[in-house]
């Protein structure tokens, strides 16, 4: 096909052009943030060496040891722990809301669950610090209440609304014909959900999990208050009853104190860059799944 006069920047009317400008502003801001973080963070990778920085086992800025691995590990440990709690909770809540719950009950439940997402994260942190941590210390008989498990529980509370609201939308949007066909074949309600609705909604549900992952790994204040901030790899590595430190908490804890332009300053931006890369990858995968949802049954 022959290309005509380039029309890609012509938008019907003035409102079109105007909204295009506003739309581009956020893209420009995103672009500038990425350039800024990379620009400030790359010197850390150069000075320390890529693998020394990313896989170094000792994080102790006071003594000039910048190994980000304990932080990276702590972040991932906490987030996986939180998903282990929030995924069953969120997905089954979504199933209930979309399939079983009568309309009047959904109309109450859904806004309430979404309200969980509106609570500022500092409140979650405060709740975890003042209430959950002492309780965990008491019940599990550990020497300190601020451990990976506490952070995981707090994070799971914060990510449940993301999972529920997206998943229930996706599940509800699976075409009625599928359900009717399945029921007509003699399947029970649960059988229909299990082998018809859920597989059709799978890409969307996975996308919601990945978005929850993105939210959890970027969470800062609440985690800072309850994770204990000990830059170590627990022994054994899957021990959730030991305090850990995370990428976000390390940035938040040290940022105010760092002298401008020092190696530590660049290291903190380096941590930011690592975080950016992780969330970008996760968001891109989530996007991929969102585009797939729900366009037919894949069993």
């Amino acid at each position: 096909m022959r290309l005509k006069h380039p029309k890609f920047l012509c938008f019907k009317d003035k409102a079109g052009s105007f909204s295009f400008i506003l739309a581009s502003i956020s893209i420009i801001i995103l672009f500038l943030i990425i350039v800024f973080v990379l620009n400030e963070g790359i010197p850390a990778f150069i000075e320390l060496g890529f693998s020394n920085f990313l896989f170094g086992h000792r994080w102790s800025p006071y003594y000039g040891d910048f190994g980000a691995f304990p932080l990276l590990y702590g972040s991932i440990l906490i987030v996986l722990g939180s998903l282990a709690i929030s995924v069953p909770l969120g997905v089954f809540t979504a199933i209930f809301l979309a399939e079983y719950s009568p309309r009047w009950l959904s109309n109450i439940l859904k806004p309430v669950i979404e309200l969980l997402a509106a609570i500022p994260s500092i409140i979650y942190g405060f709740f975890g610090f003042m209430f959950l941590a002492p309780k965990i210390m008491e019940f599990l008989d550990v020497s300190m209440g601020k451990v990976a498990l506490t952070a995981s529980i707090i994070l799971s509370m914060m990510t449940v609304p993301t999972i529920v609201s997206i998943s229930s939308e996706v599940i509800a949007s699976v075409p009625k014909e599928y359900r009717k066909a399945s029921l007509a074949l003699g399947a029970t309600k649960w059988q229909t959900i299990k082998s018809m609705v859920l597989p059709a909604a799978k890409p969307g549900v996975i996308a919601s999990l990945l978005l929850a992952f993105g939210r959890a790994i970027g969470e800062t204040v609440a985690v800072l208050m309850v994770c204990g901030c000990v830059p170590q790899i627990p022994s054994p590595p899957w021990n959730y009853l030991e305090p850990v430190h995370t990428l976000t908490a390390a940035i938040a804890l040290d940022m105010g104190e760092v002298s401008w332009g020092s190696l530590h300053y660049h290291v903190l931006f380096g941590l930011g860059a690592i975080l950016l890369v992780i969330t970008f990858i996760v968001n891109m995968i989530a996007d991929f799944f969102i585009k797939k949802a729900p366009r037919g049954v894949q069993i």
């Binding site: 079109g16 400008i21 800025p61 830059p231 804890l253 105010g256 104190e257």
Partner: protein, 314 residues
């Protein structure tokens, strides 16, 4: 349609230009703020505004003094922020604030940074602060008196040489020690390390939990049985036990009280500073504010905040 397209491209280019332009111009624009005013007229400084940033230890003093100062001269504007001594120094060197609060002297790296930026750091002593070593009451429950520790023993506890309380002293509980420390830029930490860690070649163990402020430190120790931490003297309250400290094991051991710090017998004490870039212009708001903190009224506020005054109060 073509017209709208060209217009759009032009506007977007303009916005990008504006963004990048402001980045490039920022240093030029901010360079102007260092220019000096002549404060010959008494009234000029009254409409000025300054920013005071830094150590959370100095924060209560700065806050209370600023409150009183702006009450006296209600057209002045003093903005107080915390963030730690490190932030204070770096913002002062970066020209972002007028006074930096500090609970330690500048590090070598900060001095070099200041030199590069043509900033002369002038330290104004405003008060003395002691650091109290605090433990959870569960540690001392079997002791008749207070817990006595030497500086070296404290260092070894924080370094992880002793992992259980019973290894430190007979009669202490046979429980793991939970160690809390402050984050790297904290003046409290710098002073603590200078007294308890550096002289003995010790480093804080990796299992130590970092907390971001004095109140958070007190809260953490309060909440956690068998834990140890340290706070500025002004924050010594609540359900924690203060450790009595001596330089040698033969004693004498001193409690972290105002009298002991004032008399200079308590080993863990330090000066608190307000830092400026060069000697402040006579009669400027910066000058007036620091003078106020050093004045009898300011020093009374210092004492009310739980620190030790160094200038006469009457």
């Amino acid at each position: 349609m073509g017209k709208a397209g060209i217009l759009t491209v032009a506007i977007v280019t303009f916005i990008i230009g504006l963004f990048s332009g402001s980045f490039a111009l920022a240093p030029l624009l901010s360079a102007n703020r260092g220019s000096t005013y002549a404060y010959s007229e008494d009234s000029l400084w009254r409409t000025d505004s300054i920013r005071v940033v830094g150590s959370t230890t100095v924060l209560p003093i700065a806050n209370a003094c600023a409150l009183r100062f702006t009450e006296l001269y209600n057209t002045t504007n003093i903005i107080i922020e915390g963030g730690g001594s490190g932030r204070g120094y770096s913002e002062l060197i970066g020209g972002l604030c007028d006074i930096a609060d500090a609970s330690r002297e500048p590090k070598q790296s900060e001095l070099e940074n200041a030199k590069q930026n043509g900033v002369t750091l002038i330290l104004h002593e405003i008060a003395i602060d002691g650091i109290a070593i605090i433990v959870h009451p569960s540690v001392t429950q079997n002791l008749n008196g207070p817990l006595n520790l030497t500086l070296e023993e404290i260092g070894k506890i924080f370094a992880g040489v002793y992992s259980k309380w019973s290894e430190v002293r007979e009669g202490l509980p046979d429980k793991e020690i939970v160690v809390f420390v402050r984050e790297h830029g904290s003046g409290t930490r710098a002073t603590f390390e200078e007294f308890c860690m550096e002289p003995f070649g010790l480093k804080v163990k990796t299992g130590a939990s970092e907390v971001p402020s004095n109140p958070a430190m007190r809260q953490s120790v309060e909440q956690t049985p068998y834990s140890i931490g340290y706070v500025g003297l002004g924050f010594l309250s609540g359900n924690v036990e203060a450790v009595h400290v001596a330089e040698q094991s033969s004693g004498p051991f001193y409690a972290p009280t105002y009298e002991n710090v004032k008399d200079g017998v308590y080993p863990l004490s330090r000066y608190l500073y307000m830092v400026t870039d060069g000697i402040p212009e006579s009669g400027s708001l910066t000058d007036r504010f620091i003078d106020f903190v050093k004045s009898p009224e300011g020093q009374r506020i210092v004492e009310q905040c739980g620190y030790i005054a160094i200038y006469p109060k009457e």
